[in-house]
Symmetry: C2
């Protein structure tokens, strides 16, 4: 048992030997056992006890615990507050208030002594109850995993990990071990610091489920172990997909690549959306399956326009970008090339312009025009173009769209198309159309970077002078 | 609703319009509703009814159903047997016997008319009950998915799919629809063909769970939907891993690449082992988490020797191969090069020998000995060697191991090593050591393909004549 725990402390809780651990000890069997085990494994400890002051015997118990810890030669800190008043003031249940005050104390003490972790005594029985609560509420793989041996970040800290080394130990094992050591826990933790709901699961539901399967606890526990492994695999797939979808989080918004999202399996699509929700709504408060499903359905159906998914969270498809954003968030325009009116200018050859939108325009003459012809012919990137320099009137300019701008696109047999119509057809979001940079010679549009090249300026086999144009995003 | 069902019939059940579907109809609400829906969607149908003869009214009900189906203009077949006697003879519960007889009839009729599918009327309520039953028994992601819209292969056929189009429809929806159409189902299916266990789940457990969450059915249903998606993702990962591990199934054994297995995440390691178990024990009878876990632990600990994982299923690590095999199975030797004693022979240059073990030996002179030197220097494949032809006495031979065989390996400064010791050190399984082909000149061992080359015959910068030797497996 101790050997097994040694392994878990090192590999699952990721503890080192030479740095203190803060152990939260209530005086109940689980935390007393945890303390014994950590002492046996040779870790440096500080015991912290929070006195909720909820029972008449609380002070006596704290004194008993202090003496017990002192006998073990371990430093001991304790604190307490009027949890009842706190609960009243914050409109919380007593259990919630007690939990909040206790963990706040544990993490403050842990940070004060620069502990490597805060350790608490949740057992396999607690794990089973947690998983059943998640099941009853409706859970996915994440919820079916239950609690983790090590949580970082956790609800109380982003730097100090919360560890639960006893998740694989059953309450019976705890009790029999304590009995063997002649240790009599003073507090019955099973009825303390538990919500009413959890108590009902423990004392009513689990005994009842045992009538269906006497080994129900083991079955649920095993499921949580399997779910942990499955979830790790899925997390790996989600990580890859998330990179593929270029997920970006900004002030009040998350953006992702629509086409890349569409290529993922449904389950991964859901996880990616959930991740986007989580970035906008920490802890996913009020977000569940139905909001994620609504977003997925909207995207699959390719419905245009913004839709409200949850209070204050909207979804918008713009070209190949999907935005999830809080109402009022300023969506950036930098997925698309943009230029300010004061950046409109004539260009030289060679030239290089860094636009404030984060895009760079470059032009360079190509010495070998035959090579220019070949590169143009095999080019697949619409943000690069090769242009015959003998055709357009000089100088050329880089500027935004003007009313009446037209382009003679390749393959349109000399017919010209309005730039504004083209942008609509290509689903360029309205808000970025005016500031989209165009290469022009007077009112002749030569190239719309990212979209189309004019047939007139195409490099041909007999072209004498050519230049290579490129618009690309700064990394 | 009908539109939704249309979609499910096409995309989830993968039905085509121009081929018959056999519909199993009990006369209860679910199957009557299924029949209505399939008629409305315009499919070609045959209705099949199995008369279990378990209730006095069974014959009347069958007649009522026949008349109802006739009015719809759909062909109708029926059959029946003494299910009670069948149950008694086969020591089954009445429910099991009824189910077995019924599905056997449905699939026989389906195959007779070359149907594209056998359709049955399981609803979302049935799905929830199934998932809860799996949960109680202890399930992984596979079990949490519940039933599938389309199962192929299934327990009754490898060619004819079983479809359950109503898995997304709640019993209330069925009832209200039937009421709207004025259809009065004669049989209360909810108490027919259900095991006692399922009835307890339906009538006792689910109402009780509603006290914890009034929307418990929806929560469980949603979990099954999420599990389906997650499982598909995991299946994709397992497929890739399975190819990477070179999983091979033979008569009574499965083999896999140990190192490749070791590189997988724990969850995938478990799925691969489960898959191996499933190949040996169809339906995974008596195989659960503990057998899989025992196998995984054995492999992680790299314990030598065979171990019994379950009645009649053994695990053996041999070099880089893992075998799961039934007791008495003849494990093949072809992962390793082997030759029969009657294949021992002198070799020529060039030469090519196809060994009955499925391995091919080739030798070819290399014209440019400088090139041979370079290729030998950069070679990473131990099944290829370049040899200086001026060194060994001719002729060379390809033969198995003889007592006393020794080799002077590269880097051993002329000291020779016993071939038998080398094979032990390199963890070559004992059963393949004697027949491992060696390149020898008299009693001088020049090359042990796959293992080591003799320092004496190495190609050097001043080598005048060299040959390229290769032993490789026939594809």
């Amino acid at each position: 048992m101790l050997e097994n725990l040694h392994y878990i402390l090192q590999h699952n809780c990721i503890l080192v030997q030479n740095r203190a651990i803060l152990v939260g000890v209530s005086g109940g069997p689980d935390s007393l056992y945890l303390l014994e085990m950590l002492v046996d494994c040779g870790y440096t400890l500080l015991v912290a006890h929070y006195n909720h002051g909820l029972r008449p015997s609380a002070d006596d118990e704290a004194r008993w615990l202090a003496a017990h810890v002192e006998r073990l030669g371990i430093p001991f800190v304790t604190a307490g507050s009027d949890v009842l008043a706190y609960a009243r003031d914050n409109r919380q249940s007593i259990e919630e208030a007690a939990r909040e005050r206790r963990y706040k104390f544990l993490f403050e003490e842990g940070e004060r002594i620069d502990a490597q972790a805060v350790a608490v005594g949740h057992t396999a029985d607690d794990q089973v109850e947690t998983v059943i609560m998640h099941l009853l509420r409706g859970a996915g793989l994440q919820g079916l995993r239950g609690m983790e041996y090590r949580s970082l970040p956790n609800l109380w800290s982003t730097k100090l990990s919360l560890i639960r080394p006893l998740l694989g130990v059953w309450r019976e094992q705890v009790m029999s071990h304590l009995a063997k050591r002649g240790l009599q826990p003073l507090v019955d933790e099973s009825n303390l610091d538990r919500t009413y709901y959890r108590n009902r699961i423990r004392h009513e539901l689990i005994p009842l489920l045992k009538e269906y399967n006497p080994a129900i606890r083991e079955a649920v526990y095993r499921m949580s172990i399997l779910a942990q492994g499955d979830y790790e695999v899925i997390e790996g797939v989600v990580r890859e997909a998330s990179a593929e979808c270029n997920i970006r989080t900004g002030q009040g918004y998350v953006s992702l690549d629509y086409a890349a999202w569409g290529r993922q399996p449904l389950a991964i699509q859901r996880y990616l959306l959930r991740q986007a929700f989580a970035a906008l709504r920490p802890g996913l408060k009020d977000i569940d399956f139905s909001q994620v499903e609504k977003a997925a359905q909207h995207l699959v159906a390719h419905q245009s326009g913004a839709v409200e998914l949850a209070a204050d969270i909207n979804l918008l498809i713009e070209g190949n970008w999907v935005w999830l954003f809080s109402a009022g968030a300023q969506l950036p325009t930098d997925p698309w090339p943009q230029m300010r009116i004061d950046e409109w200018d004539e260009i030289d050859i060679p030239d290089k312009r860094v636009l404030t939108s984060g895009w760079v325009f470059t032009v360079e003459e190509v010495q070998d025009s035959r090579q220019a012809f070949e590169m143009a012919a095999s080019n697949k990137d619409p943000f690069q173009a090769w242009i015959d320099l003998h055709v357009p009137d000089m100088p050329m300019s880089l500027r935004g769209r003007l009313p009446g701008d037209r382009i003679r696109m390749i393959g349109m047999q000399g017919h010209s198309t309005k730039v504004s119509d083209l942008m609509i057809n290509l689903k360029i979001p309205q808000r970025v159309r005016d500031s989209w940079p165009l290469l022009a010679a007077g009112d002749d549009i030569l190239w719309i970077p990212g979209l189309r090249l004019s047939e007139r300026v195409q490099v041909r086999g007999d072209t004498q002078r050519a230049a290579h144009f490129q618009l690309c995003r700064l990394e």
